[in-house]
């Protein structure tokens, strides 16, 4: 039933009635009036007749869309600013969500990833500890627990890999995994099969391998004939039996092993020096699993507690005081994440603030538009349109804006993600930070856009369709002296004040971050990063005995010093900027350890006697290590200033002692205090640090540091020659300058955060600027008549200028004052999480003038325009 037909049918009815009335003697005009009146609202009735057939909503939607498109393209300025504002707001959230996703939130690439839990044994002394388990404990837990459908163990394994029996050997990082690992992860092979249940039972028997998809691509060019091929790993021939699907990159958030080997093969790997699967005290395995259907986390935890207690009783030497802890993947990441979750949370909050400012813009724009269209709305109401219809149509316009804004926002977010991809991770394991815009980010962005526009579009829509007909129709669009004009400006004023205040908060955070970064960058890292070349060695990979290792590390620095251009050489187990420092347990003498803990954790490294000199780390008290501090002399240690202050406040730390390990482990004597420097991140707060002599605590994997007279990279080739002379089989890896390591590992991540907060600060100010501009421009446009009158009765141009600027001043000023309070509060919150940042008055000296000045600027252009108003034209227009 088309509109036309129904409409003409109704017309015919009315016509017939009118004609009848005319025939009976009524004058023509009255007859038609009576006919129409007694019929009722023809348009509405036609509509309800059509509605019966049920397709009208679709037609209406299409009508609304066409109409909206026309309206939006007519006022390009309005549409442009609204879409741009939304784009910035949504884009910021998109980018920050991507960041949070990559760093923390992305679920494991397995089906029903929310069900995967991590389990480990931790001792009560540990603060945030990674969950690890020894293999015998894992075995026992798996056998005794009834809560898990599958419980699997795995660990990274750095091995020597050769594609063919005579191919060159590379160092690669794979994983050893229990036979049920793939079943626990619920993944399917892309090619071939996974481990059979019997292949993980007898130690050392079944040399089978499953490749990761990336490795298969890289090494074998996705050749399907790899199945059955033999490769050599650590001197053992392994048969490739399967290839993983592309999506499964591993059960770890960061590291992507190249291949998987059965757990039972691990005793034969790495030269068989340690037997990790028999030692109960070697807690190195990750254990992950899924609960059985119907079992809750609490039940699993309770059962695990019982099992843990039983094990502690049965094996007191290794398991005393160790308890089982089960965490979800997210909990695990937050626990292990250090400061990362807090920083991410801060970034997300900033992004939401930007979105709020953007929404305020859009709300202001919509409200201004709505009141400008009051006349149109009243007319339509008067001729019979339903209020719901009008509101629906306004909302359709808003939704189209939201859609456009959301899409542009995704584009902005994509740009942000591209910038974030610049972060590299300097590590010797295959870590991949894969920033990508996945569907969850897109969904999040679109929801943000739609939600905000719906929220801010509804209010103006409801307002303008109020049946205040005569007022709107009579006054037209100018609200110069009407009372109903003023209250409406109030909301927009509030919005702009809020925008200015919020953008000040954003600016404050950005300024604090920037000042801190600058301060720490200028202060320097506390050691010499330039002119140092580093390389890492791990002789345990080639089955060196303890004696051989000792000799290697005695010869190597001496040999290295013979290279022309080398000023000095040193050894260390970890370097700043990497992930290589160790977490050591200490019990300082006479220190009050908190209840329940048995020792403190401190970051530390093992160094030789040349370390302090080579890296130019100043010793402020006592001395560094000497050749006399060897395996036969008393145990010594050097702490940094922060550690000394923390453990022996106000006292002389020289001569004090600390245990290394928990109660019962040997005492170390403090013989020197080093200046506190930067260890993990440029912007970290002063952190306690411990140096112990490598000679007294040997380790297989060490870093060789060479101080160069000239370009450190030029030492790489001569160093390689020396290594080849010493032992051609001994691989070195991670050869780069210390500067590179420190910059990519410690500086760049902080720099990225600073840049992101600066970007959001600028966005906030930009949006507030446009909000203020829009409001003042709108106000001027509605006051043209008033301005015209003023000028006509003698006001000068400058008076008008001043009048408008005053309006801007009030808004900017109020916003700045409110913003100041908010900023101070924000700074306090920030300092709770990051106490070492720069919070001096300088921050406010920068932020307040910036915010105020920029927003006042926004009032200038409309003010100038107002002063140009030609009174004659203004008064003539209606």
């Amino acid at each position: 039933m088309t509109w036309k037909r129904l409409s003409s049918e109704i017309e015919a009815h009315i016509e017939e009635k009118a004609l009848d009335l005319i025939e009976s003697g009524m004058p023509e005009r009255d007859a038609w009036q009576k006919a129409r009146r007694e019929f009722g609202n023809a348009t509405a009735l036609t509509e309800s007749s059509r509605e019966v057939w049920g397709w009208t909503w679709l037609e209406r939607l299409w009508q609304d869309i066409v109409y909206a498109r026309r309206i939006l393209t007519k006022s390009v300025g309005f549409t442009g600013i609204a879409v741009l504002s939304l784009a910035l707001g949504v884009g910021a959230n998109c980018a920050m969500f991507s960041l949070a996703d990559t760093m923390l939130l992305r679920p494991l690439p397995v089906p029903r990833s929310g069900d995967v839990l991590s389990a480990g044994f931790i001792s009560p002394q540990a603060t945030a500890q990674t969950l690890r388990m020894s293999y015998p404990d894992y075995r026992d837990l798996r056998e005794q627990s009834r809560s898990f459908s599958e419980l699997a163990a795995f660990n990274l394994a750095r091995v020597r890999f050769a594609k063919q029996l005579d191919a060159p050997v590379e160092l690669r990082v794979g994983a050893v995994a229990s036979g049920n690992f793939f079943a626990a992860m619920q993944v399917q092979p892309r090619l071939g099969r996974f481990f059979r249940p019997d292949e993980d039972e007898v130690p050392g028997r079944d040399a089978v391998m499953v490749l990761s998809h990336a490795f298969w691509e890289q090494q074998f060019g996705t050749d399907p004939s790899v199945l059955g091929r033999k490769v050599r790993v650590d001197g053992i021939d392994f048969t490739i039996v399967g290839v993983l699907a592309e999506e499964f990159t591993g059960a770890d958030q960061w590291v992507r092993p190249d291949f998987y080997l059965p757990m039972m093969m691990s005793p034969r790997l790495g030269g068989g020096i340690q037997n990790p699967i028999t030692r109960r005290d070697l807690r190195t395995f990750n254990v992950k699993g899924r609960l059985k259907a119907g079992v809750t986390l609490e039940q699993a935890r309770a059962e695990a507690a019982v099992i843990g207690a039983a094990l502690a009783k049965e094996y007191p030497e290794t398991n005393r005081n160790y308890a089982v802890e089960i965490r979800s993947e997210l909990q695990q990441r937050v626990e292990e994440g250090g400061r990362v979750p807090i920083v991410l949370a801060m970034m997300l909050v900033l992004a939401v603030a930007v979105l709020l400012v953007a929404c305020a813009n859009v709300a202001g724009l919509l409200t201004s538009r709505a009141s400008a269209r009051a006349r149109e709305m009243s007319l339509r109401l008067a001729i019979g349109a339903g209020r719901g219809r009008l509101v629906r149509q306004l909302l359709t316009e808003s939704m189209i804006l939201a859609l456009l804004g959301g899409l542009c926002g995704v584009a902005v977010g994509y740009g942000g993600v591209q910038i974030m991809k610049q972060i590299q991770v300097v590590a010797d394991v295959p870590v991949a930070l894969s920033f990508r815009l996945d569907e969850r980010v897109l969904l999040y962005s679109l929801v943000a856009a739609m939600g905000s526009v719906f929220l801010f579009g509804l209010l103006p829509a409801m307002r303008t369709t109020r049946a205040d007909l005569t007022g709107a129709l009579r006054m037209g669009n100018s609200r110069s002296i009407s009372q109903s004009g003023r209250p409406r400006l109030w909301t927009r004023n509030m919005l702009v004040v809020g925008q200015v205040a919020l953008s000040m908060v954003l600016l404050t955070v950005a300024t604090v971050m920037y000042l801190t970064f600058r301060r720490d960058l200028l202060a320097g890292p506390g050691f010499r990063a330039d002119h140092v070349l580093m390389t890492t060695l791990d002789p345990s990979l080639v089955n060196y005995s303890d004696a051989q290792t000792r000799n290697l590390y005695k010869d190597l620095p001496e040999r290295a010093r013979t290279i022309p251009g080398v000023r000095s050489a040193a050894l260390a187990s970890g370097v700043p900027g990497g992930f290589t420092f160790e977490s050591m347990a200490v019990v300082p003498e006479n220190y009050e350890v908190t209840e329940g803990q048995r020792s403190l954790n401190i970051m530390g490294t093992r160094i030789d006697k040349n370390y302090f000199a080579t890296l130019r780390v100043p010793i402020v008290q006592g001395r560094g290590f000497a050749v006399t501090d060897d395996a036969n002399s008393r145990l010594v240690a050097v702490v940094n200033e922060t550690a000394a202050e923390q453990y022996w406040p106000g006292q002389n730390p020289i001569g004090k002692r600390t245990r290394l390990g928990d109660a019962g482990s040997p005492w170390l004597e403090i013989i020197g205090v080093a200046k506190t420097g930067k260890y993990r991140f440029l912007m970290e707060r002063p952190t306690p640090f411990l140096y112990i002599p490598f000679a007294q605590h040997p380790k297989a994997q060490m870093v060789l540091l060479l101080e160069s007279a000239g370009d450190p990279a030029s030492l790489a080739a001569p160093l390689r020659d020396i290594m080849r002379d010493l032992d051609p089989d001994l691989p070195t890896f991670g050869t780069r300058t210390l500067q590179q390591t420190f910059e990519t590992g410690a500086v760049d991540p902080n720099l990225l955060i600073v840049q992101m907060s600066a970007a959001m600060g600028s966005m906030g100010v930009l949006l507030a600027l446009s909000g203020l501009y829009g409001l003042i421009a709108f106000s001027v446009s509605t006051r043209r008549r008033e301005i015209g009158i003023r000028m006509a009765v003698g006001a000068h141009k400058n008076n008008v200028l001043g009048m408008v600027l005053r309006q801007g001043l009030v808004l900017a000023g109020t916003g700045t004052v409110v913003g100041l309070f908010l900023s101070a509060g924000t700074a306090r919150l920030l300092s709770a999480a990051f106490p070492s940042y720069e919070y001096s008055v300088v921050v406010y000296l920068i932020v307040v003038p910036a915010a105020f000045g920029v927003t006042m600027l926004a009032a200038f252009l409309p003010a100038l325009r107002a002063a140009q108003v030609n009174p004659v034209l203004a008064l003539r227009q209606d």
Partner: protein
């Protein structure tokens, strides 16, 4: 539709239309006239409200529409009752009469 003491309960309009069309097919205006005159102005019906009702009944299959010519020679749509429509009318009338009887009895009981 105005709601006052003389307004209709739902379904009443359809009932009256069906009853009127049972005698002869009519177009919209004529239908309105006849219903008005039959009820002797005791009921208030907005003329236009016939049309949505007619559409509903068209959809339900109780009436069918065809093009014809009015008394004045204007092209109009003429509605006639269908077999289903007649059945519907019977059902409606009987349930209406039952309702009336029930109310009458209840009122009598109260009064006495």
């Amino acid at each position: 539709m105005t709601t006052n003491d003389r307004s209709l309960f739902p379904g009443a309009l359809e009932m009256m239309i069906l009853q009127t069309l049972r005698r002869e097919p009519l177009h919209g205006y004529a239908l309105a006239q006849i219903i008005k005159s039959n009820s002797g102005d005791l009921l208030q019906v907005e003329e236009g409200s016939l049309y949505p009702a007619l559409q509903r009944m068209l959809k339900a299959g109780w009436v069918a529409a065809d093009w014809g010519v009015s008394r004045r020679g204007r092209k109009v749509r003429i509605y006639k009752i269908t077999a289903a429509g007649r059945k519907q009318l019977e059902r409606k009338v009987s349930s209406f009469e039952q309702m009336l009887e029930g109310i009458a009895r209840a009122m009598k009981a109260v009064r006495s």
